[in-house]
Structures are given as C-alpha cells and as structure tokens.
C-alpha cells in the first residue's frame, strides 16, 4: 500500500467513527481525539477498523504513535514496509 493509499484508508476508517466531521479540515499533526472529539470507544473502533482494512494489528503500547493523522500514516507505512 502506498502512502497515499494508506492515508485514504485511514480517512475512510475515520469517516466511519466520526461521520459528522469534515475530514478535509483535519490538521494532520494534531491529535485526532481533539480534532474529531472521539472518545475511547471511537478510538478503539478506529484501531479495529485499521486492522480490518490493512491487516496490521496495532498493540496498545503503540497507540501513542497513531494519535495524529501523520503519525498514523508513518506508523502504518513502517509496519507495511517491515512486513
């Protein structure tokens, strides 16, 4: 998966947990939880959704690395390359 495809995948998953949000307005370096006002269940659903779409399992210890859009892209890209 390319960086562009990964970003589109992440945004597609975000759209399912925050359907009212205008994702084009997201600051890619800000915390998604603040940008989209998602709670812990939404965030956990986000992790599950990413797993379903990419097959990449994200352990809880790595959650701090996926809290922003750019962080999430970099993390998944690294995992995809490693596998």
């Amino acid at each position: 998966m390319s960086e562009k495809e990964l970003k589109e995948t992440i945004l597609a998953v975000l759209a399912t947990i925050a359907p009212e949000a205008d994702l084009s307005e997201i600051d890619p370096d800000e915390l998604l939880q603040d940008e989209l006002d998602v709670d812990s269940i939404d965030f956990s659903n986000f992790v599950l959704g990413l797993y379903k779409k990419t097959g990449i399992e994200i352990p809880e210890r790595d959650y701090p690395k996926i809290l922003s859009l750019n962080g999430c892209v970099a993390y998944l890209l690294g995992k995809a390359v490693a596998s």
């Binding site: 205008d22 997201i26 600051d27 603040d34 006002d37 812990s40 959650y63 701090p64």
Partner: protein
C-alpha cells in the same frame, strides 16, 4: 449467584441534587458533579474569559463551533467548580498534566491535594472530586457498537465469557458497563489508552456489584471500589477509586 433479571439491568439511576450552597467535601466523600455542556452564547461569553491562554488556543483549534463551545463550557465550569474547593478565583487556577494527560491542580494550588477527574460524552460532563484519593470517572453514551468484536479485542477472557452469558438484549448495556469501569480504572491510575485493557478484569454482570476482580500487577484488586450508574437516560457511567466506605454525593451544577 442470583439469576439475571431477564428484563432489566440493575445499574442504579442517580438522583441528582441541586445544592443551595456549595457543599463541603468531607474526607470520606466523593462529589460527582453533573454539568450540561449545552450552553447559550451568553453563557459561553461569560465562561470564555476564565480559560487560560493554552485552553483558549485549544478551543480555537476545534473545527466546529459546537465542539468549541462545548470545550469552553466544560473548561470554564470545571474552573468554577474547583475554585470553590480551593477558595480561589477560577481564573487563577493552573492545571498540571501527567504524561498521559490526566489533569491535576498545579501552581500554588497543587498543595491543596484536591483530586479530581472528569469525563464527557456529547453534551454531558461529569466531574468527580475527592480530598484524599486519586480517582477515575468515565461516561459513555449508549449506542450501537460492534460489541462482540470489541470485547474480543479489548476485554479479558473472563470478561468476554461473562458478556456472552448475559441475555442478548442486555448485552449492549453490559458491554458499556464493562467498558466504563475499565476506563475509569485506567484513568484513576493516571494511565492512558495504551494501558492493556485485557490485563485486568472487572465485574459487570447485571446481578453482581461493580468491582475490580483481577489485575496483572502488584495492585491488589480488592483495594479498589468500583461503581456504576446511570447519570441520565441514554448514558452509562462508572467511577474507580482506591479504598472503601466512600459516600457518593451527586450534585447538579446549575450556575
């Protein structure tokens, strides 16, 4: 164990009281404040000047006005509530944040030892306050979630088995009862989302009291008090605090 009531969950509904004067916080009490974050423009204009520069900066980063207003209402009201406990001007309060973002009173009021935690969902915020013990509180709005999948991923084996034992029509509420207790516990510890949820077990069956049953480290589960409650229709909440024999006081904030 008594059989599960087939028709309803046994989560207690909170009876909120509007205090006539600001209540004293005794040593063995926990105050829980219910705050509506749905405010008129005039109220937002009143609360906004209470916020610190970093809070105002955060408020300005919200994409939607409703989220910005909700944040200002929450922060401003939190300052008003806490200021009563430490006899301070709400503008003068400073917050310090632990590595996982848990707020505490900082600056000159850090010495007050006042402990608090807050949670919000949609237009509802709860603030829990203790004079002695760290605590954690969580609320969730009840909604459709893929609770089977989420439980498999985030609950302990015992919790997954317990959830499956609940009658189907009570499983959503059971899921949220488990989730809010787990969140309240990690918030009380000062941990964040990266704390492994599978490594501890809570009691959430409809016919059993809320409790921390098992942890994976040295923290003794029996030292904790867990409680679950319905703050108002459509929501479920839980509170975790070390120690026992707490008296809960539920106050409605009507400022």
């Amino acid at each position: 164990m008594s059989p599960i009531n087939e028709n309803k969950y046994l989560t207690p509904r909170v009876n909120w009281v509007s205090p006539k004067t600001f209540p004293d916080l005794n040593e063995h009490e926990i105050h829980i404040w219910r705050v509506s974050l749905s405010c008129e423009a005039a109220k937002i204009a009143e609360l906004e000047p209470l916020l610190s520069p970093d809070e105002l900066s955060k408020a300005d980063r919200f994409v939607f006005d409703k989220d910005r207003w909700s944040y200002i209402a929450g922060r401003g009201t939190l300052r008003n509530i806490l200021s009563h406990y430490v006899f301070a001007d709400p503008v003068m309060l400073e917050f310090a944040y632990a590595k996982n973002g848990k707020p505490a009173l900082g600056g000159r009021h850090a010495a007050s030892q006042l402990k608090f935690n807050l949670t919000h969902a949609q237009d509802l915020m709860l603030v829990a306050v203790s004079s002695t013990e760290e605590l954690g509180i969580d609320i969730e709005s009840l909604r459709d979630v893929a609770y089977d999948e989420m439980a498999e991923q985030f609950f302990s084996d015992e919790e997954v088995a317990a959830l499956r034992s609940v009658p189907k029509h009570l499983q959503t509420e059971a899921f949220f009862s488990c989730w809010t207790q787990k969140e309240a516990y990690i918030k009380a510890l000062g941990e964040g989302l990266s704390y492994p949820l599978k490594q501890f077990t809570v009691s959430f069956l409809p016919n059993r009291p809320a409790a921390l049953l098992k942890t994976s480290h040295s923290t003794q589960a029996s030292r904790w008090t867990m409680s679950r409650f319905i703050p108002c229709a459509g929501y479920l909440g839980a509170l975790a605090v070390r120690g026992h024999s707490w008296r809960y006081k539920h106050w409605d904030w009507k400022d």
